[in-house]
Amino acid sequence: MEAMSMIRPELVCPAGTPASLRTAVDAGADAVYCGFQNATNARNFSGLNFTTAEMRGGVDYAHDKGAKLLLAINTFPPGGKTDLWKSAIDDGVCFGVDALIVADIGVAEYVSQNHPDQRLHLSVQAGASSAEAIQYYCESFNIKRVVLPRILTVKEIKAIHDEIPCEIEAFIFGNIGMMAEGRCSLTNYITGVSTNMDGVCSPASHVKYEEDKARNLMTKLGDFTVDCFSCGENAGYPTVCKGRYLVDHREEPYYAFEEPVSLNLTSLLPDLMQAGVTALKIEGRQRSRAYVRSVVSAFRKAVDGYMAGENPELSGLLALTEGHRETAGAFGGKKWR
């Protein structure tokens, strides 16, 4: 492959804890994204995320090593309860974060009115998947980058790129969410906790694992059985969208929404880079340092290899995928199953 003439894409990596942030930066992340320990971010899981002091330290660590810190404030504040979101924004700006990742138009408006010089990215949670929608956000709130939902082909991404005035960030690895992002209410329906306002999909407080003596595993969310895995069968996350259900037209339980599988766009990286994608995003703030170290270093090597005109060999990430299965999802074509 010939060396590419385009701009080197930014590798945007997850950090659920300060230790993960340092691991990601040391493994070659150009930018890390993270959130506070509250409902202002969409990975509001127990034991995860940053205190204000840790966020300040994270910004310093990233900047000292030449990396950026992107602060996710990407949930939707309930009516009349916006103080927490405003406080998170003010803290982030004060600490010198390189960008705020937002989804809610009220949150975006607060930033553009009160911190007009602060760089804004549009979260995948905003679900902006058309050039018209993205243009609206850019014109209204001076959005500089959009994180695209994982429902578009590379060809569609290229077409959007040609019509919008901002950068594009695309997911390349990790949990795949093909539900309407930012609009999914499956968790809310079952648990009363909102993915979009509380920041928790399938809250662990409502998850139960029951394994019998033969090592058959049943996963439950609230009162609903999400899946049953026989002994030795690979398991997935206990999310409703990846559950296996009895449906009328099938004799056996069936993955009626999505399957437990991870996104891996290794093979499509050159296509994404040529389509004008500015930033490549790795999902997984809920994952461990081991995951961050392995995935970030692998994609660092891949991106650098492609930019140098090489064909880097990428393997070994299957061990980290959900259900030990991977897919190019919608990026490779609309038929992802």
């Binding site: 659920g16 804890t17 230790a19 993960s20 127990s46 034991g47 662990a204 461990s288 170290r293 061990a319």
Partner: protein, 176 residues
């Protein structure tokens, strides 16, 4: 590796620890948990309300399980035969080396769960919180524990890691 050899190595701790009277472990485990609690306060800070929970840490290839109560005011780690375990909030089970590698940030808890190498029971939120809190601890807790017992401790850990090295490593792209 030959599967029968791997199986023998996995069962080695069960054989080695079988004759061990558990009361002998009490002062050692107490020293371990008190030292970690004192030296790693960020662990209990990140645990939040779950620091008051009780966790069974169950290395499936040794003949006993551990009951961890991380409450910083009275941290406790005790060994029990599996049929004598007191009531607890959650249980985390896997082979000894799997659990050690996860605690040391070399293996990913979610990936271990996907492959069924990690078993979680009881209060899932407490387990997730403990996993996240441990993952934020840099350096090696296993090394911390070995250092408590000076040369014999370090030698024992080195032996365990040699066995681990024969069994498996961390993920392929792990540069560490």
């Amino acid at each position: 590796m030959d599967p029968s050899h791997k199986s023998r190595l996995q069962n080695l701790p069960r054989i080695l620890f079988a004759p061990l009277p558990l009361p002998l472990l009490e002062p050692i485990l107490s020293k371990v948990v008190c030292t970690i609690s004192r030296n790693r306060p960020e662990l209990t800070n990140r645990l939040g309300v779950h620091k008051y929970k009780s966790f069974v840490i169950d290395p499936t290839n040794i003949p006993f399980a551990l009951l961890l109560q991380p409450n910083p005011d009275e941290p406790s780690l005790r060994a029990y035969r599996r049929n004598q375990l007191p009531p607890h909030d959650a249980r985390i089970a896997g082979t000894l080396l799997t659990l050690l590698d996860m605690v040391d940030g070399k293996l990913d808890g979610d990936a271990l769960f996907f492959t069924r190498d990690l078993i979680v029971e009881g209060d899932t939120e407490a387990v997730v919180c403990l996993r996240n809190a441990l993952d934020d601890i840099e350096g090696s807790i296993a090394n911390d524990i070995a250092d408590i017992f000076k040369t014999p401790g370090r030698a024992a850990l080195a032996a365990v890691r040699r066995i681990k090295g024969e069994q498996h490593g961390s993920y392929e792209h792990d540069p560490a």
